[in-house]
Subunit: 191 residues, 2 copies
Amino acid sequence: MQRLVLKELPRYECLVEAAKQFPDLNPSVCEAFMHLIRAGDEVSRVMDAHFADHDITHGRFLMMMLLIEKKGTACARPSTPAELADLASVSRATITGLLDTLERDGFVRREPGTDDRRQMSVHLTPEGQAFMHGLLPEHFRLVNDLMGNLSEHERATLAKLLTKISTKAVACGVARRQETSAAELPATIHI
Amino acid sequence: MQRLVLKELPRYECLVEAAKQFPDLNPSVCEAFMHLIRAGDEVSRVMDAHFADHDITHGRFLMMMLLIEKKGTACARPSTPAELADLASVSRATITGLLDTLERDGFVRREPGTDDRRQMSVHLTPEGQAFMHGLLPEHFRLVNDLMGNLSEHERATLAKLLTKISTKAVACGVARRQETSAAELPATIHI
DNA sequence: TGTTTTTAGTAAGGTGGCTAACTATTTCTC
DNA sequence: GAGAAATAGTTAGCCACCTTACTAAAAACA
């Protein structure tokens, strides 16, 4: 499902106009920011359309990607709902909902855990595995196509710049949580 | 509302491993792609958290941004639900839902159109206008902060690279629609 | 042993989509 | 001018993907 975004980015001159009204608005910063939002949205739409061709959604795809059997041992594979929730940064309740639909469609199988009876162990079924093997070649070709206008060097530059932004975004999140925690201290602490 | 994304991107060596299984997978392409998805998601989360502080959501914010009074005449302002829907590339039904909640909260006012009795004219109320004027300074400062690790030159580079990707994504969408249209022609046409 | 924490899942609610159908109005065609 | 077609906004129903609060059971801790 898509977030609302503008079909067209505002013209630069509109940003400059708006900056007269809102002095904190830096037109070139805003422009770059909006390019990021837009590009992210548009590639997501392309991927989602491909998923829809196969009657699957982004969320379910990600679950199956996490569960897919991997050759070699370099990359761990989660197996409990809590592990999936942690990797995807969502609540267990969300995972339950996703797994419910995947189980309903025969793509995953849940079994009680062996060590801990509270736990469930989650696996792709052979059907789920086959489904992913059928989907992924074209998925990766689509990714290649989307990035096809960028040289290897440009892709590396892009990754570097985006990492700078992500780092900043994460820092905003951390600073925000500290701010929130401080606000929640009883007033008497400040004596 | 966020889409499911991985908390951590897979390590490059995991991509290389996976490429052995899926030959279409190009590790460096995939890596850049995932950086885009992640960065987009993370900045969205930061913005959404700020919106939540003011009891508003991304979709409602965008509606109000489109409706906000603008000094000068360089930038048109939409005024009907259909115009909003067109600018945001969603259905009129979706706009109805968003406007319902904004009207409920006193931020927008709907009036019958003057020229065409099918239409509604939509405006920010003074309360809505004041709300946005209260929110936007910090919003723009947040944007500046998020992009703060990038120089002016880097921002221009980023915008250029992202535009290349957006262009490709849009082309994928166009190609897809042509493909779909061709598939829908009656079989007899091919004689 | 008793208390606290953890696990998966349920219930309830929200956001932001969609489609199809509807009603009223406007535009188009003959 | 009459009727058909298109348009505008809304309604109803559905979906995906969240959240929090809660439950029962199990595990960990003191």
